[in-house]
Symmetry: D2
Subunit: 356 residues, 4 copies
């Protein structure tokens, strides 16, 4: 299969460049009869939207979407559910000066190397705008998997780290522009982002996420481990460069005797664990505890400082970007991480129906 689809039983296919006719997503495999809450989709889209706060890009995007198919009298039909987002604030002139330059740490060169032809008006398929389609699809997936709840938040920006908590409430995340549930850390993160923007620079960080009420039994034992599918989902996000499940890299420093999660009798005849270093996943399959993971995002590649690069003729050149970009992708990455996690979980919820 070519690479613009994701998922097995709930399969999304996204399409569209940042500066063509529009972007969209076809969701195949959405069960019939789901009463779709369109306002909830709007809310998630608003959380991803550029220009939502003083620390994101001032660029405006048309997130108004049209449901092209799959919905009748408010309920899903079991047929492909399709969302279309028109491109309206797409000004290719902003990109014309860079038409023949390879922007450092962007996809310009690799796209050219792969396809021999590219749309230089923005990032093409590599544009973060593609994630608008994922967030819409993820918002549908969320509704499919209720009462499973997916909450992500900004845990670290540069060197400013929030408290080591996993018991985070969605409301606290939305209480500030940074989407860090700790008000003090959030304030310091916001100050850092403002300072970095003033320098024409960018900064990376880490998003944490927790999925609650995940039943035991999701995920497959070998290649399609729940954490493997989450890892792929997260690393498919723009600027993502790392993933940890449960205790992650920190856990590698521990001894097994300290790391193992002891089982104790739980309610309804089902055991629970006293700790959750496994991150809710054992042997690739959910164990009923919260599923926890982190995602690393590198600093955005578009900076407002002159940079040495080459042009399409392999000649030295200098790039001085203009335009409107985020100094830090983290606050807007939160809904993207949630969307991809919801899609992975929904896929495995449907897959589990055939496991016995």
């Amino acid at each position: 299969m070519p690479g613009n689809s994701f998922g097995e039983r709930l399969r999304i296919t996204t399409f569209g460049e940042s500066h063509g006719g529009g972007l969209g997503v076809v969701m195949d495999g959405v069960p019939a009869g789901l009463l779709l809450d369109l306002a909830a989709i709007e809310r998630d889209l608003a959380r991803r939207r550029p220009g939502q706060s003083a620390i994101t890009t001032p660029r405006k995007e048309a997130d108004a979407f049209e449901v092209l198919s799959g919905l009748f009298e408010g309920r899903t039909l079991g047929s492909p559910l399709t969302f279309l987002f028109r491109n309206v604030d797409a000004d290719p002139r902003a990109y014309a000066p860079f038409k023949d330059l390879y922007r450092p740490s962007h996809a310009d060169f690799t796209t050219q190397a792969k396809y021999g032809h590219r749309d230089w008006r923005g990032g093409g398929r590599a544009s973060a705008r593609e994630t608008v389609a994922r967030v819409a699809a993820g918002a549908v997936a969320r509704q499919l998997i209720a009462p499973i709840e997916v909450v992500a938040w900004v845990h670290r920006v540069g060197d400013i780290e929030g408290p080591d908590l996993w018991d985070v409430d969605a409301g606290a995340v939305e209480a500030n522009a940074v989407r860090c549930p700790d008000p003090d850390a959030a304030a310091r993160m916001e100050a850092l982002i403002r300072a970095i923007r003033a320098d024409g620079d960018t900064i990376g960080g880490v998003v944490r996420a927790v999925c609650r009420n995940v039943p035991a039994g999701l995920g497959e034992p070998v290649f399609d481990k729940l954490e493997a599918d989450l890892a792929k989902a997260m690393l498919s996000l723009p600027a993502a460069k790392g993933f940890e499940s449960g205790s992650g890299y920190a856990g590698t420093r521990m001894r097994g005797s300290a790391h193992n999660d002891a089982f104790v009798p739980g309610p309804n005849g089902v055991p629970i664990t006293t700790t959750n270093r496994s991150g809710g996943i054992q042997g690739g399959i959910s164990n009923g505890m919260p599923v926890t993971f982190t995602v690393a995002f590198k600093p955005v590649a578009t900076i407002f400082q002159p940079q040495a690069t080459v042009d399409v003729h392999n000649q030295p050149a200098t790039l001085t970007p203009r335009g409107r970009h985020d100094p830090c992708v983290l606050p807007r990455a939160v809904p993207m991480v949630e969307a991809m996690a919801a899609l992975v979980l929904a896929d495995h919820v449907l897959r589990a129906r055939a496991s016995r």
Copy 2:
């Protein structure tokens, strides 16, 4: 698709439990006409084999394999290439005492929760023995992708870390039992592993890997980014809990101005980058620089100390494991990481043939 297959154009399907009739792998999509070097496959299997050194489990496994199909007169036929490994040193009695117990941080409980039925004689599909099939398949993939070279090594065990190098030679990795190319760090790692084994305990760590001679243009722009497929491949390995591409988590602390990889004119009219924080992948597509990544492995769950747990009736119990297990999975994880990386690259090499 159910979850025992991996890859699109080069698709492997593994089968077998640790204590059934055998394990194996069917490789579908291997191009015809490849003169297969079986000795090279044997060498990679020997690197994965239990009992290979004083710091691995003394358990013996029958890694002797049979090529069931796909090979004729030494060359691949284009038909499924199948390897079968018989189970011979499989003594289920070792597991009988734990038959009704859920071993902490193992897959016993989740397997039972998912399937309602499990093979208690060893880990079933969750057994690390399943990786023998992956290493064989990976050794074939390596031959397919030559001159691409994949080298992995142990970078950290517990808190003992090797030097921050990516320019590592395969020979240096194999020069000691730990598979850390730095002799001094290797000696300290080995001492740590011996001490931990003496305590009946286990320890985790980090593997690093580099893929050289990867042409620009491998990987797909959206979901099947090269790093996304590598992330899934690595997180599908037993005990893997984290993945980083290029600068990974460390890169998230940097500013864009320091993190971006500047392009400079390269040979043959193709640009190169002066640094490689992108890890050879930009926008999900290889850029011709070395592909670099790390994998986090948690401490092995089987420890030789009594642990509190529950039984299948949700009653408290105490587990005192016996048997033969690795105190540290890292040295044997090195060939597994290489195998999965080679499989991902081979898949994308074949996929790229249809990109333009």
Copy 3:
């Protein structure tokens, strides 16, 4: 994978109901750099369009399409190529009287049984309007596989059969409204269709097709035989009920000594066969001879006569259809058959690039 996609390397996903926001197709896997001939797509769409002649439905459809993505400066980008067709002449009131009835030999009952919810305004996903997306995609596939040529025609309507020829020219097919290359048979077929329409009835028939310049080596030896994929493609068309490859059912009456295709030396060191009962496919793989097949189409289920049926409450009812439907689907099925054949061939052309 859910069921709205087709193909492996060239993968199309269609979406849309007959009376929703629109229909469309996402083509994933179209190689980059193809200079797309949009007029050729228009021509194929015109051949499928309702109302094109006196013997098709007078219903008008908006076949004007928009290329939403995947095209830049006239060339494909290697990203998903998306076509959108708006629904404009969709008058749901025509269907309101049948809202609670199950139309005989239609998909109303089975859709309700499967999904528990359906769009009664037209055929939903079962509507033949869905094929507009396939014809557009097929027209792209045709351009990809040039110089392979795919020609289909009406071979039989009811009991009126054209001559037993496979050497048919595309121009002769388009020379009359029936799309039968034999003028005499075409005239009799047209008269039959007019008479049947006057009765408020419908009639079935057979389409034949030939694919020329197919190189030897397309198709896979076991499940994805070229004829197996063609069979699936054709039986996925609305009203299709049969498929034959090469000599088909007639060949089953023959002896092997009469049926076998003798090889003789051919040009360029490659053998050819003196006859072509194999239909250009041996062991599932093309042999360089023309690929030939037939497709059986049942009479359209919508007739303008009262019919006994039941309603959604399982109570007897009488249906008296109104509306605008084809008395014979065959003339408009010709471009659909060609489109699906082109898609199958294009998929296998791309797949073959990885076979050795």
Copy 4:
């Protein structure tokens, strides 16, 4: 995906050449907990076995199989269920004289054209021996889908046709060597086959099949129509050249008023149809009536008469086959057709679990 797998949720992958180490099948997606009846599998294999009667090839095959994985204490584990069949009566010397010849209407030339390398010792992957793996898998699928019953039989051999019945009992099919449930027709068919064998020739024919107790709602509306998947399954069988669903080619001669299946109120609030020209499938989805179809098989290509052909150097040659082959594949095709139908139905039974 390469072409050696079939099915989405129940996915089989077959491997093996006729003269290598063995053949087999990996079934991925078999739900856990199925108490497997191995004797039933043996019974189906015996029906496919060469040498079972006076009118099949006297060649003996080792159909003894080993369950390599997926079964524990008699029940499926939810992991891959793997069957291995060793090749024992494989005498490559019988093929040595034809090593450099392309046998007419066989896959020798196309395999060479595709892969540039082939196993000349028998048919390789194109050998009908590959179907032993399908029959074993189909026998498992049958058990999964109970109480759905799949019965196939020989309806026509050459010009000798059985009565036009669909209400056929499995016992009647097995009452004679031809597998035609009509004793009189069976006797005439057997006499024809004996006469044809005496001539060193072969003959084709038609298999009919019915699937009973299929619930309404199996199949997908667009590409994965139940009849489309059946068509692919059947055309993937060796020597299959045609497929009809329900009324098939005969139905194309009818008017809609005569062809439509009228609904009448049925038991349990669910309508039934008074006729079944739809073959139990409407809009690609089962409607609760018996699913009926036919499969056309061409005469076996191996005849015992001299034939003109070419060699691998494109030079004229004469082939005089020796060996042991069936004069008519039909009797042994019956269990193959049943197996593939059971696999398609089992796949859709599992897929339907996620449809609403």
